[in-house]
């Protein structure tokens, strides 16, 4: 990964489901599709497993953005769980917006096991967006505020 001139590279935490999107990332790799290496994928059995807590924790611990990816609606390995993802994502987005986080910092991408190209493109777009938004730096900022006022 080549750092930018100021040394900052977007750190993106990705949650992907075992059945579609993780395999999409795999197939992108096998097809030797090049895409930005900024997403650290965490494989879960289903995107429905993504508790909003995980997303908040990622931001609180220093992620610049979070990507959630799963099977297309209707294609979930667990029948309907990704509809829950859809609903939670919508409400989480609303809450994060109210907390002042920019839209581009949380993204939901549906990618089937065959859609490595789509996932790679979405990741490239996302990284470009986050680059424009700049570092989030939530961890350092919160620690500083909490200790500054503690004195």
């Amino acid at each position: 990964m080549t750092p930018t001139s100021n040394g900052w590279e977007p750190v993106i935490v990705g949650f992907s489901c075992n059945w579609c999107s993780y395999r999409a990332a795999d197939s992108a790799g096998m097809a030797r599709i090049k895409y930005a290496p900024n997403v650290r994928f965490i494989r879960l059995m289903c995107s429905g497993r993504v508790d909003p807590l995980f997303v908040l924790k990622a931001f609180a611990d220093g992620a610049d953005a979070v990507l959630i990816s799963g099977c297309h609606p209707g294609d979930c390995h667990y029948i309907t769980q990704n509809y829950k993802t859809l609903r939670r994502f919508a409400l989480l987005k609303q809450t994060l917006t109210a907390l002042g986080l920019e839209d581009g910092r949380l993204r939901l991408v549906w990618a089937s096991a065959a859609e490595g190209t789509i996932l790679a493109e979405e990741i490239d777009n996302m990284v470009a967006d986050v680059r424009k938004l700049g570092p989030l730096n939530w961890k350092a900022r919160t620690a500083q505020r909490v200790t500054a006022a503690a004195g």
Partner: protein, 321 residues
């Protein structure tokens, strides 16, 4: 032998915790019989310098309510920490930030500007409070608002957490009697860091309403809808925080036909009350269509303020960006 010493202090608080303590009725006589009240600004005259003059650890039990909003609050937190053996974060504000912590949704300057320049504020010169002023008698200072509202344990370590807005009087009585028994050697205190005077489950578990399958097509607000008295409020579309909130109040609000607003903080095992709440609420929205989901959720008009009504300062994100 002199009696153990008791103190109670309010930082950024409304005074409700003090009322709750007085509301323990005749049990307050046990407090008086077993403790010497050395510092309690709302109930007796005492100066900060009297506390400063005490030996460290002289106060046996200190109930500290209110969040840490300014430098005076922080100074008193440090002082009472030094002087107290058992420091209890008392009430939602001290435990989780409480209502004052909703101030973390805005920059401090914006709060000051709103308070001193709204349409209804008579302030034609646009004056702002100054934190120091050179009076003929010398310079005087008022406390400076901090950038963030913090919980007591974000400023000093505490022994116990006692949530509630305010803590229920029955719970206060139980805690006071436990401390008295412990001082007499008849009972053991819970391990440091425990939540005391609260339940070990959720408000839903104490709620008398009937629950069935949750499938919500429309959220409603209390101002425009009268819920029926028997069915689960959430099933009626009212945003109720019972499922994410610690028990201990005997579901007081739902029993009075108003939703739980989450004052007892996150239920045991809940790391972030707002996250738990939003996860539960979103899951029961009865639609698979993105547009319809968006329109149903649009009725959740203040998600940050609703899900983190009492716990923003203690949440993972702590404040708005």
């Amino acid at each position: 032998m002199s009696k153990p010493k008791f103190a109670m202090y309010w930082a950024a608080a409304c005074g409700g915790c003090e009322i709750a303590v007085l509301n323990i009725n005749e049990a307050i006589l046990d407090v008086d019989a077993n403790f010497e009240v050395v510092f309690w600004p709302v109930a007796m005259d005492a100066k900060y310098k009297d506390v400063e003059a005490m030996p460290d650890g002289d106060i046996t039990l200190c109930l500290f309510n209110g969040s840490i909003r300014n430098d005076e609050n922080a100074e008193m937190a440090h002082l009472l920490r030094r002087k107290s053996k058992i420091l209890v974060a008392f009430g939602s504000c001290a435990v989780d930030g409480g209502i004052p912590a909703l101030g973390n949704l805005y920059p401090t300057q914006a709060i000051i500007d709103t308070a001193f320049s709204t349409l209804t504020t008579d302030n034609p010169q646009g004056l702002r409070p100054q934190t120091s002023y050179a009076a003929p008698e010398g310079e005087i200072h008022i406390p400076v608002l901090a950038s963030d509202v913090r919980t007591l344990d974000q400023v000093v370590p505490v022994e116990y957490y006692m949530p509630g807005c305010p803590p229920e009087s029955k719970q206060i009585t139980a805690v006071v009697s436990l401390v008295i028994s412990a001082l007499k050697g008849e009972a053991a205190l819970p391990p440091a860091g425990s939540v005391i005077g609260a339940g070990a489950s959720t408000v839903c578990d104490e709620c008398p309403r009937t629950r069935s399958e949750k499938a919500i097509k429309r959220f409603r607000r209390m101002a425009t809808y009268q819920p029926n008295a028997t069915e689960c409020l959430l099933e009626q579309g009212i945003l109720c925080s019972g499922m994410a909130t610690r028990s201990g109040c005997v579901a007081l609000c739902p029993s009075a036909n108003v939703p739980c607003i989450g004052c007892y903080g996150g239920a045991p095992g809940v790391i972030d009350q707002g996250a738990r709440m939003l996860s539960a609420i979103a899951s029961v929205v009865d639609s698979d269509d993105p547009a319809e989901i968006a329109s149903i959720l649009a009725d959740v008009v203040d998600p940050a303020g609703t899900f983190y009504r009492f716990s923003l300062a203690h949440s993972l994100l702590h404040r708005a960006k």
